[in-house]
Symmetry: C2
Subunit: 358 residues, 2 copies
């Protein structure tokens, strides 16, 4: 493989010194970019786009042409695994993801089988290989999946929810069924992420989007225990280099200590947690990724720059920070906002390194 031209992202995840704070954005290839919308139109739908390696490669690279980003992330969906289990992922217009055949009873749970990453999910590893080729070593490529619990939320609920009534009902009434789903999901996600790594993903991220809907005890039992299992089963090195794993739980600010103890290399931090406080709590163990409020991108450039500096100052001097938003970028964000953000993060973090000891 071509050597990496820019490994700032991987060095920051390893908490090694870097010249500046690297930045990438969750959902950086997405609807806020007109060129993405054009490709999506060509593809016909979001899923047709995600399942076509050539299109997925095209949109993965689009934000890198516009902005100075330090990593690319595979264009895909967090729900590819349950889709490959045969649950029938679809997107209703203007709504989030839904499943045609949600997993609601014992027989549906018993029927679940972890998909073969070389079978139904082959389009993902094909995309990873094609993206790596197209990147030609410019920046590292991140692979990802939803966490076992977050997948279970969608699988049981059949879609997003305000109150997660269906999945919570199963969790409290039939914890045995919930644990069975989570076991299969953990196995499936592990195999899936390892297939992405072997195909060329140079870091992986586990998105636990809904772990924050649990109690502290529930989070440990139903979400964290299974993310920990995935992390323990991951390929740790590939192409002669460590493959770091980032664990992100939206709304998980209260649980950083137990998240950091899973064996992951970095924690994704949403915008509700002060990054300095997070670092004081777990920064000796893991790198931190985050955590600008995505809504800041609706403000004028001067304000975006000021808020970016606030996040960098909160983390403070030293290594171990990957700049990101606290959640995915909104489709309504002006692309110019991202340009101002990436510029400020690079410029200001470089200044910080020359004006005070790292």
């Amino acid at each position: 493989m071509t050597p990496l031209e820019n490994d700032t992202f991987l060095r920051a995840l390893a908490r090694q010194p870097t010249d500046y704070t690297p930045i990438w954005l969750m959902r950086q290839a997405g609807r806020y970019l007109p060129e993405y919308n054009a490709t999506r139109k060509k593809a016909g739908s979001f899923l047709a786009l995600a399942k076509n390696p050539a299109y997925a490669t095209e949109v993965t690279l689009q934000p890198l042409s516009r902005f100075k980003l330090d990593a690319a992330i595979l264009f895909s969906d967090i729900l590819t695994v349950p889709d490959a289990m045969g649950l029938g992922l679809y997107f209703a217009e203007g709504e989030g993801p839904r499943f045609e055949r949600p997993v609601r009873d014992e027989s549906a749970v018993r029927a679940l089988v972890a998909p073969d990453p070389d079978g139904e999910l082959r389009y993902v590893t094909d995309a990873v290989r094609e993206i790596r080729k197209a990147l030609a070593g410019r920046v590292p490529l991140i692979g990802f999946s939803g966490s076992p619990y977050t997948l279970a939320c969608y699988m049981v609920e059949g879609g997003g929810s305000d109150d997660f009534r269906t999945v919570k009902s199963m969790l409290y009434s039939r914890p045995d069924l919930m644990h069975r789903i989570l076991e299969i999901n953990a196995q499936a996600v592990t195999t899936y992420l390892n297939a992405q790594i072997r195909a060329g993903a140079q870091a992986v991220m586990i998105f636990d989007t809904w772990g924050g809907n649990l109690t502290t005890a529930g989070y440990e039992e139903f979400a964290l225990a299974y993310s920990r299992r995935v992390i323990a089963g991951l390929v740790k090195e590939n192409e002669g280099r460590k493959v770091p794993c980032i664990l992100f739980t939206k709304g998980g600010g209260q649980w950083l200590e137990v998240m950091a103890a899973t064996g992951c290399d970095a924690l994704g931090i949403d915008w509700s947690t002060d990054l300095g406080a997070a670092r004081a709590r777990v920064g000796a163990q893991v790198a931190l990724q985050g955590n600008l409020d995505p809504a800041v991108l609706f403000a004028p450039p001067d304000k975006i720059r000021a808020e970016a500096r606030r996040v960098l100052d909160a983390f403070g001097p030293g290594s171990g920070h990957v700049f990101n938003l606290g959640h995915g970028i909104s489709q309504f964000s002006p692309p110019e906002s991202v340009a101002a953000l990436t510029d400020e993060v690079h410029t200001y973090s470089m200044q910080l390194r020359t004006t005070r000891p790292a």
Copy 2:
């Protein structure tokens, strides 16, 4: 006024010894009760019900006839204040609250005036007086309002939101306008809660439903600062008894220390925070209210009882706990679940007091 037969709730808020842990439920008068739905049908709509003191009294008392609850809460809405400001509160079928005339620009902000609680909001204090009469001292009556920030979210957004894009845009782009709205809201909420207290509310609760959508710095600047102002301006005593104030921020688990320092008497704790950990952090300053996951009420009675014991055990021995859900009760909760819950909370907490020192 009639003396209180059951002041367990008020004693627990004052962190005085009680024979058992008192319980009430957020939204306890609501759609999960068939008798509530019958009254609502008579009234014609939610708002017609809330604005009619006789109906409001009727539904406020309904859950007390069914369950052994230790407090009543005024039947009303958290958005009565902006409605009285002339923004036109309405409820679209199957959706949350909306405003006909959201506050989106400078001229709309300049036009805002805090409503007179004896004018537009007279129906609320009339309801408080009528409910107090009907309660005849059985249990204390709680008054409430949305927090200045939560009101602002609805006022600017025009309704609920997934991303609060409009209000966050104003907050980041025109903080001066946001602060102006919050100043007026703080003044209005203070006057409004004091009017409820003078009419007979024996405790008040500030619902900061959306404070959790902010960053830590933003929470202090835009949400907490104005709740603190409200708390500082509240009538502290009435009818010869202290009138305690409960501050609840959904998603505020990371900020309990600063919330406890506002001068409130108790914190509402959502289900994501372990109650024992919360107590260790702030229990020397304030009482705690909460925090069962509302979804537990979808489970069978045995599981509900086990989860109720878990919450009581997490708080541990000693006074200063008011049992509640971590959020409002779902309309889909079976009433029998509430019966099992109130019974277990009373029985088990009484046992705890006789088997170990308080």
